[in-house]
Assembly symmetry: C2
Homo-oligomer: 324 residues x 2
Amino acid sequence: MVLQSNISNPCNKKCKSQFHGGTEARKKELIHVKNPHLERMPCDTLYHIHLGTEYQDLQALFGDIKFVCMGGTPARMKEFAHFIKNEIGYIPPYGTTLEDISKLGHRYSMFKVGPVLSVSHGMGVPSIGILLHEMIKLMYHAQVKDPVFFRIGTCGGIGIEGGNIVITSEALNGYGEPNFDLPVLGKKMSRPAKLDSNLAMDLKNLTLPEDPWDTTIGKTMCADDFYEGQGRLDGAFCEYSEADKIAYLTKLHKNGVRNIEMEAVIFGALTHHAGIRAAIVCVTLLNRLNGDQINSTREERDEWQARPQKLVSRYIKNQLNLSS
Amino acid sequence: MVLQSNISNPCNKKCKSQFHGGTEARKKELIHVKNPHLERMPCDTLYHIHLGTEYQDLQALFGDIKFVCMGGTPARMKEFAHFIKNEIGYIPPYGTTLEDISKLGHRYSMFKVGPVLSVSHGMGVPSIGILLHEMIKLMYHAQVKDPVFFRIGTCGGIGIEGGNIVITSEALNGYGEPNFDLPVLGKKMSRPAKLDSNLAMDLKNLTLPEDPWDTTIGKTMCADDFYEGQGRLDGAFCEYSEADKIAYLTKLHKNGVRNIEMEAVIFGALTHHAGIRAAIVCVTLLNRLNGDQINSTREERDEWQARPQKLVSRYIKNQLNLSS
């Protein structure tokens, strides 16, 4: 299969971003967009994050990025942006405040805090998948070197009570395989879902004795559904018994799975494929061996959801030589 | 497998909603939540839409619902809510306005306009899947009879230019099969993805000669990805040629597929499984046989996105005997 591109030029304009080509040395330092068509495109619209090369110099705007932090909801990622702003001492000019860069795309929220991007990804593999493609291309267009990607999320614990942190050692799909599978042109394409083990250990080692949570490194099962796909009994449909559910979750636990969420396999697969170091840091909302419904109070959940943010913040501050 | 439930009572409270049990005759009229555990749960928290039976009488609040309209973004569904409000002549009390019922869930936006619910679903099968489980349970708890569900969306056309409407006759997954597949307890569960053909025809017949769009009933391919999963050449990765892409899209077209989007199979599967009449009405943003990037202006897209809303509104007004 010859990977030549005959893509016609749809805009006939000179793009503001200069991303075409580049020396081999430069290409080696940068992340891997394994797409020969991309370099031949005159412009690239990152549609869902509302950015593009035609009208924006993405290297000027994002070239200083070192950390990309993703989480499910716009509210949480706005909160994280303001939290990290205080943590790293980023002071925007007087009279300004952080703004949602992707607001007019209506899908994701993105905030830039100096070298940190805080972005919401929605729920599920397809939603975060679109964002990952566009963020990876953004890093490419901005010529960012060696960014670190984090997913800061929530999850169901398996044998772990609510309020504790699980860092993903390996992401498994719903069939227990460490792959992200996707039909492409009608046929199954499979990519290994790998996270950076050194990064996981570095994060775990930042947990302090006085922290009101435990941090575990364990396997993560990535489901495509919140209810039946996670063995819950409280969906609109359920064709198995509670005993079946417990047997399944117990089997997962014996296999080293410590939490279930809905984005891990593609997060691992696409960052790995791009050569980007990445980690998933989630707080458990409940222990699934004890139930399905999330019965914590909003105050508890708010405090718990801040815990992975604190851990990732410590890492970022270390890397920026800002630790107190 | 004996489907008995021994779920313990987590809240020990008497729920405000009285959804437990019911006569056989009542059960026959209502939608099918095929989950024997549900009736034995003392309370049900619809976590992501921020509703629940413990503190709310869902029948009193939602018992009058006849139509549930879903679309991708909160902005679009808020716009649709205000549009349908004017179309059906729903006048809230002076000094009030529509409010996002699910705001504090931070995932979806939901607006109630008399007998119409307008809800955002995010992107992709898992995201709309969570919503569908909770909306179907909501209809059950509210004892709604024979609601009609619509997905009002955007899509890529295949052989159809931007700005035209495709109503889904059949939803196909990425392998070309008319099924929604999901790993449940580690094994593949498959449900047929069916839409209501009479409803599709009723909608098509509401297209007027003066409408600036064509309406086609055709098959819809539901992808789990916006880029490689839809044969695009402009993702962060691409391992096939433009010729491969065109061959694939042409094959889809020959098989009767007229559009590609990202929610159809689960929308068809879960509504069908619940006995709910449902239709998917999408406007094309581009003809994928001519390109991948969405190059229309925002004004064009805004006007196009109103087109499925208008068609569904005509149906709703007919059903409410409100057509002028």
